[in-house]
Symmetry: D2
Subunit: 336 residues, 4 copies
Amino acid sequence: MTDLKPFLSDNAAPVHPKIWAAMQAADSADNPYDGDALSAELDARFSDLFGRECAGLWVATGTAANCLALATMVQPHGAVVCHEEAHIEVDEGGAPGFYLHGAKLMLGAGEGAKLTPEGIAALIDPIRDDVHQVQPHAISITQATEYGRSYSPAELAALSEFAKARGLGLHMDGARFANAAAFLGGSAADAAHGVDSLAFGCIKNGGMSAEAVVLFDPAQADLVKYRRKRGGHLQCKGRYLAAQILAMLDGDLWLANARHANAASQEIASGCGAERLMHPVEANELFVRLTETEREALRAQKFAFYDWGEDAARFVTAWDTRAEDASALGKAIASL
Amino acid sequence: MTDLKPFLSDNAAPVHPKIWAAMQAADSADNPYDGDALSAELDARFSDLFGRECAGLWVATGTAANCLALATMVQPHGAVVCHEEAHIEVDEGGAPGFYLHGAKLMLGAGEGAKLTPEGIAALIDPIRDDVHQVQPHAISITQATEYGRSYSPAELAALSEFAKARGLGLHMDGARFANAAAFLGGSAADAAHGVDSLAFGCIKNGGMSAEAVVLFDPAQADLVKYRRKRGGHLQCKGRYLAAQILAMLDGDLWLANARHANAASQEIASGCGAERLMHPVEANELFVRLTETEREALRAQKFAFYDWGEDAARFVTAWDTRAEDASALGKAIASL
Amino acid sequence: MTDLKPFLSDNAAPVHPKIWAAMQAADSADNPYDGDALSAELDARFSDLFGRECAGLWVATGTAANCLALATMVQPHGAVVCHEEAHIEVDEGGAPGFYLHGAKLMLGAGEGAKLTPEGIAALIDPIRDDVHQVQPHAISITQATEYGRSYSPAELAALSEFAKARGLGLHMDGARFANAAAFLGGSAADAAHGVDSLAFGCIKNGGMSAEAVVLFDPAQADLVKYRRKRGGHLQCKGRYLAAQILAMLDGDLWLANARHANAASQEIASGCGAERLMHPVEANELFVRLTETEREALRAQKFAFYDWGEDAARFVTAWDTRAEDASALGKAIASL
Amino acid sequence: MTDLKPFLSDNAAPVHPKIWAAMQAADSADNPYDGDALSAELDARFSDLFGRECAGLWVATGTAANCLALATMVQPHGAVVCHEEAHIEVDEGGAPGFYLHGAKLMLGAGEGAKLTPEGIAALIDPIRDDVHQVQPHAISITQATEYGRSYSPAELAALSEFAKARGLGLHMDGARFANAAAFLGGSAADAAHGVDSLAFGCIKNGGMSAEAVVLFDPAQADLVKYRRKRGGHLQCKGRYLAAQILAMLDGDLWLANARHANAASQEIASGCGAERLMHPVEANELFVRLTETEREALRAQKFAFYDWGEDAARFVTAWDTRAEDASALGKAIASL
């Protein structure tokens, strides 16, 4: 694949050298499961990062991170409000239904895969307050969204206020949280303003196999620990997962990687021109209007990417995207 | 911990260099999830290993491997027969109840944590064949057992015949399958004789984060794939897991590592004398009668291990156990 | 409530005298659970009614009947396609998610709460055939629909053919099956043409506490029996439930009651005029455009009914609706 | 069956005339589900009965009552401690696993199917306080037990104190609560001393299809209501269930019926002699040592009963047991 210019997904990118180094540094035996010295650092490190007390736990996938976090908020007879194009609804193989023991996803609409208080109210206000209808227990939003949009702190504040007023938990799927935070100026706290839990993504950002469940109510950590074990997600050599996450936080590697990926996306965006873009580029994904013929032409030039429906394509940049590939892609689209 | 002589567990041992090398060789991007070239090799490699057609799928933990395999055999209203000291009953945090949607574990007895057809019959024959009583759907055995015992091919044949006669699936928890196979002479096929599924352990044997679900009815692979995703166990960079398993099979590293660990256990056993042993040593674990004073004396000599109740200790050897440590331990116990 | 003219719902109507009589005739002790002589008749009686071999089992609610039937068709990792206004989605408190262990409901649209092959295809064709997306396993339709519409045998044949072609089970929620069958001409077989299972409703039609799960593949009965017990639905004095169902079938009481209710609805419909009707009246429910002022005027005349949104009302007739009340209601609406 | 002298079970006995009368009195339409006037009385009536504030909800079976009550105390990753011969373990088809979403039953031993604080401690004290082992969340006891024994108020106080000290809920399966209360002197409060929830049985005591979930923390009622609906147990004509329960409480019919049944059991016991009894008779069940030949001789005299293993029989008396049949049975056994 050496001469391909890859924009398929950030989810298959190589592991960052600093992550490799940290994993290898963790190789000598320590206590199993999460009893090792590295895992023990996570709470403090995330508390520092977010400027408020929180608990941090490793798991191997974003799906597990989302589901375990939601299980702190949602009873089996309740529901999670999410966008109709949310990853938890569309691409997690029904995992929320499994981890929440049959709880429901209630699907809202919204531009750019974003939810708003108004949109959620329109969805849940008609629900009768009786046992015949499933009641919402939580809201889940994705930062950055499935269309590469980022929620601003103000938007998050509005959602958080709404959630509190309705007695709902607020969860954030942060598979690309780093990209959103980088876009918003680099503050983790701002990018997660007001949420109760966060699936802090590392894998798409240069990690191998570790995401973090961040719980802003640390009292919930016990529940997640029991459920993580019960889900078969408590790895016995957990130190290799903790090492990945700590390396990501060290010296803000998470931000550096995300800024690199975001810059590549902006380079493509500025090259190809705004009129082709289906969504503003606020992270590391671009959805570009392209006919089938145009897509073929790009593929003939060795650009690799996924179709997005019949008249568009999705391009994703990553921590390892070559600047020259991004630049070439922008120009190639402009030249079509 | 450098001067400790560690016999706590094989589950926290370092990763074998060949596994590290294979993971790094997998670093260049490939298709995500299990769409990569390495994952695609697993079916054929395990079919070769066992001499019968089977499917092989990676997961990150033995708990997940056991539960996903059992889900091919057990309906939510059914039960799994296992030993009362089986790992799935005692140490998996209720994961079988979760993955099997409330199915029950039925607990049998047997020497050395082994089940026998007679023991299982005594357990399930009194169950009335009516809807008021939960019916068994499968049997799960552990190879090597929780007491380091190995089922011989003849014992497995008897269990398999019994299971077929009763219409029950037969699953094998092989967290230490390599150690049993090494003890039994090195044939994977013999050590898994007649079973329908196997959780093929790598992590305790020098791996980092990959076990294999082996399905001897490959038609069940689809179900496991859907359930793996639903359990949040489909990692997007799955090639790093496949790489671990393939490296384990390459040149029979799995057997070499297990033989090393087994030899260390035999060394200790021959040193300490048969009368102290609670169970014959048939894998890489020893359960040794030791008073509290004796255990203190050993710990003063820097041997690290777990107590086993009030009058015994458990020692576990691993792929990296130093021969001199094993020898020293045997002598130290003999000198008590 | 004696001077009220009740059109609130058929679900709270008194029990028909013949049902009372049958229950009392069942009073002498018999075998418990479903081991009694009456329960033993159900399979044969439903096989006669539908002209094809089937199994019939009692349960106490339509929700349980639907869920237990769906459990024969849908794996926990799969989905049921239903209308977005289907009772199982809107009014069963998440019971399908519970009984199907987290399986999903996929919501289709369609006029009059009816599904069509085209509508279902539009919903499920975009689902990628991979483990990331939940796959449909069954279709559930309601006969008569939540808007009082009946599927014709031709419509059912098309749905059944579509379901077979896609490998999907086809379930029918028949809470008001009798009303649909009566509307369609009185043939149970026609009204359930091609379905794999049916929740045959009795309670809204003059019963007290018994619905029947009808399985057109009798081999599924065992599964339903185990799951019925596990759901806490195997009553020990089941003979009183069987008695209700048998009395409903005796001399076609089910049809007589439904015809009475349907006739009352037609009387109202012809009185109030077609332009006010939101849906054709094909069973025993009417959805009538009425302003708030108009509804108040009707209530002042002692008509009892539910609002249906802001500009309409729902009227339901039952086996015990007085002809003069129906006639009066039609005229009262006409006079508004 | 008219000339049989029936001692098979109380669970198939006819419905008491006063229950019939109350059901028929409830026939005129009222609000559906539990919105009717009768259902609304239950909280107050049970609060009166027990002398402390509680909530009372109808369900159709004891299995549902037990499971819904336990769901207020037990998380899916937890466990219920019960006797190894408890009905919830042995005879409810795995319903607790279903309603508790995979939670475990931990099986204790104890004479007469009774649990004691010491017995429970022996069971749960060895459980390590870590995520690998399922933790107990509640205790369930049966009053009267599966062997017809009654817990005294002092025994209940000890269990309740123990449960509180360990942070465990305490549930009582009261399928034959009336018989225990009658045996203990007639105080409902005494017979349920210190428990957090009670499945108050009516069906075996002359009811048709209604048991009550009694919650001594009424704040839990909401959860039970949602779960009852979700379990398909919210009947639309719930007034017929409420009527049964209220009739049972009116004038202490529940006690009168139980006293009748208990007296018949005592009559048999005194007739047959203490040495044949496997357990003291403290409710309405007798377990009597009888050889196969002896059992045949009794059956030849038209006594109907179940074998209990190979050398014993179980006799159950009910509200309708004829005094002369009980007396005859005692004498017949004595004459063997």
